[in-house]
């Protein structure tokens, strides 16, 4: 048997499958954490399958089997390329804020990911609304987005992401309030920013965050909402349904409560509390192979079904087989006699 034949060996297929099962179990049980435990068997299986497709005559005689295995190989290759080019990240965007790639927290980025495409995305966050049932059970999330290049508005939410140039922005359960602040320094420079408070209502008991002024003074901000989230009735979380003041701590002993529009003189400048807005967290996902993966998997499964239908006798099996019933009835009547 030549080398290709040995690589195509079914013994290697079985060994590869067993190794893959073992690798999956090792990672699942957290006895190993390197993806090599899965990547290596998958690589072996891919090479083994490719060799089998070339040398095994059964594939040439059985189209359905060929289609399934070609698609299986395609899925492995597409998933690999997708992994090399993909991006996973997280970003929090406030109402009225424009998407800024600098705010993106990258969780994972493949070496082939086209970063310039992400930088070219241009949209602005609109209103955010989350419905709650009684007992604070989260319901529908709706986020309005303005696509600036197209001058259009879309609504995204649960199961419906923003899709732009292959990127998908999924709303998450991470959302809350933000205080919009303006810092005016002694030199007359104005800077607008926002403090995001912890996720709400999950952390309704701890709506605090910290910030350091350009002059180096440490401030702690506490959001004082006018209403607590009701637990007995349905409820909507958005900017319109809640008013808030801002308590500013300059040190342990000193705190000032600011209403919207109030200013606070600080060392080196003045801080103005503009208003409260909502922010929402998105999971960002990019994989250029998604649609191709789906197509390859679906075609492969139909190939498999086709193969089993004709090669394993389903065309015969899918009819009643009275001969078998008669065999049993004859045996039963004989035993009763």
């Amino acid at each position: 048997m030549n080398i290709l034949g040995k690589i195509a060996s079914l013994k290697l297929t079985l060994a590869g499958m067993l190794a893959l099962i073992l690798g999956v179990l090792l990672i699942y049980m957290e006895w190993a954490n390197a993806s090599a435990w899965i990547a290596l068997p998958l690589t072996v299986l891919s090479v083994n399958l490719l060799a089998a497709l070339i040398v095994n005559p059964k594939f040439r005689r059985q189209s359905g089997l060929l289609i399934f295995h070609v698609c299986l190989l395609a899925v492995m290759l597409l998933a690999t390329f997708g992994w090399l080019a993909n991006l996973k990240g997280r970003i929090e965007i406030m109402e009225g804020q424009r998407f800024n790639v600098g705010d993106l927290q990258v969780v994972r980025q493949g070496v082939l990911h086209p970063w310039h495409r992400l930088e070219a995305l241009d949209f602005q966050q609109g209103t955010i609304q989350v419905e709650y049932a009684s007992d604070l059970i989260r319901g529908r999330t709706e986020s309005q987005l303005y696509i600036l290049g197209r001058q259009s508005t879309i609504r995204v939410g649960d199961n419906v992401p923003l899709r732009m140039d292959g990127y998908r922005f999924y709303t998450t359960s991470n959302k809350g309030y933000a205080a919009v602040l303006i810092w005016q320094g002694m030199d007359g420079k104005r800077e607008q920013g926002a403090i995001h408070f912890p996720s709400y209502p999950l952390n309704d008991w701890n709506q605090r965050n910290e910030w350091q002024t350009p002059e180096g003074e440490n401030l702690t901000f506490e959001l004082l909402l006018s209403e607590k989230p009701p637990s007995q009735t349905a409820w909507i979380l958005d900017r319109a349904h809640n008013n808030a003041n801002l308590r500013v701590y300059r040190n342990e002993a000193s705190a000032v409560v600011l209403n919207a529009g109030d200013s606070l003189k600080l060392r080196g400048g003045q801080l103005r509390f503009e208003e409260i807005r909502m922010w929402i967290g998105y999971d960002v996902f990019y994989d250029p192979m998604l649609a191709w993966l789906f197509a390859a998997a679906l075609v492969g499964i139909f190939g498999l079904a086709w193969h089993f239908y004709y090669r394993l006798g389903f065309a015969r099996v899918l009819t009643l087989n009275p001969a078998i019933s008669k065999t049993r009835q004859h045996a039963e009547s004989s035993s009763r006699a």
Partner: protein, 275 residues
């Protein structure tokens, strides 16, 4: 179990379990007394399916969501779906009827388990409100039902190896013919399991922003798929001994059973839906 008495659909559930109990008794009686009880068993299967369908419908109307969330709902829906698929197999494939000896007691086991778990309703998460959930769960139930048919036959074949002198077992078609049906059903099951994985990945992509994350349910479903593929390769290529094939089929069903009924309720991963 007394806590369940306030649940409106419980009457129908109890009647359905009774139908499966009667079916179990009847099928074993038929074997002991060498009587043909096929029609009576079929009646009990159909009755059980209808009663569980009524129970599910009542609960669905009351909770305003489908039977997807709690262990109670998953068991209830599987008592219907597995019963429905097995009844179809029983009706259209007479050769399968011998497996009722094993399958009906299995339904009874699921029914008793149902009575022991909390019956309170949950709250359907927003990520469950998609057509892909229906497709994923639907093909998954078809997979498990078809796998159950194969396992039932495999169990009967193993029983025949152990109890060689029984006249009824001896009167069944030969091992070769029944074995062929076991593997045909496993092959169909493999197709539906593959569809389940694909639909699950599509659902996961839009529900949680990724199509695969090796969470507990995905991992065990993938292991089940690999075991199915492995077993088909072993059977079709290496012609493994029949008895080892039957044990393999039963092992695969055990893994699938744990995946369906154990993992979702012991895992805290997002697949549980409560985010």
């Amino acid at each position: 179990m007394l806590n369940h008495l306030h649940v409106p659909e419980m009457v129908w559930i109890l009647i359905g379990i009774t139908a499966y109990l009667v079916g179990s008794v009847v099928v074993w009686y038929g074997v002991m007394r060498q009587r043909n009880v096929d029609e009576l068993v079929l009646s009990m299967l159909v009755a059980g399916v209808i009663f569980f369908m009524v129970a599910i419908t009542m609960r669905w109307l009351r909770t305003e969501y489908g039977p997807f969330l709690t262990l109670f709902e998953v068991l209830l829906s599987n008592l219907f779906s597995l019963g429905f698929i097995y009844t179809l197999a029983y009706l259209f494939y007479p050769v399968v009827r011998s497996s009722a000896l094993m399958v009906l007691p299995f339904f009874l086991f699921l029914g008793v388990w149902l009575l022991l778990v909390p019956a309170e309703a949950g709250q359907l998460p927003a990520t469950y409100q998609t057509i892909w959930l229906w497709i994923h769960v639907g093909v998954g139930k078809v997979f498990l039902g078809i796998c159950l048919v194969a396992v039932g036959l495999a169990a009967i074949l193993l029983l025949r190896k152990l109890v060689r002198t029984d006249a009824w077992l001896a009167s069944l078609p030969d091992d070769h013919e029944l074995d062929a049906y076991v593997w045909r059903f496993i092959a169909i099951a493999f197709v539906f399991h593959s569809l389940m994985l694909l639909a699950g990945a599509v659902w996961a992509q839009d529900a949680w922003g990724r199509y695969w994350a090796w969470d507990s349910l995905e991992t065990w479903a993938f292991i089940t798929w690999l075991l199915l593929g492995l077993s088909l390769h072993l059977k079709l290529t290496y012609k493994i001994p029949q008895w080892s094939g039957w044990l393999l089929v039963m092992g695969i069903f055990a893994v699938a059973f744990i995946t369906f009924f154990g993992v979702p309720f012991s895992s805290m991963g997002p697949h549980k839906g409560i985010i």
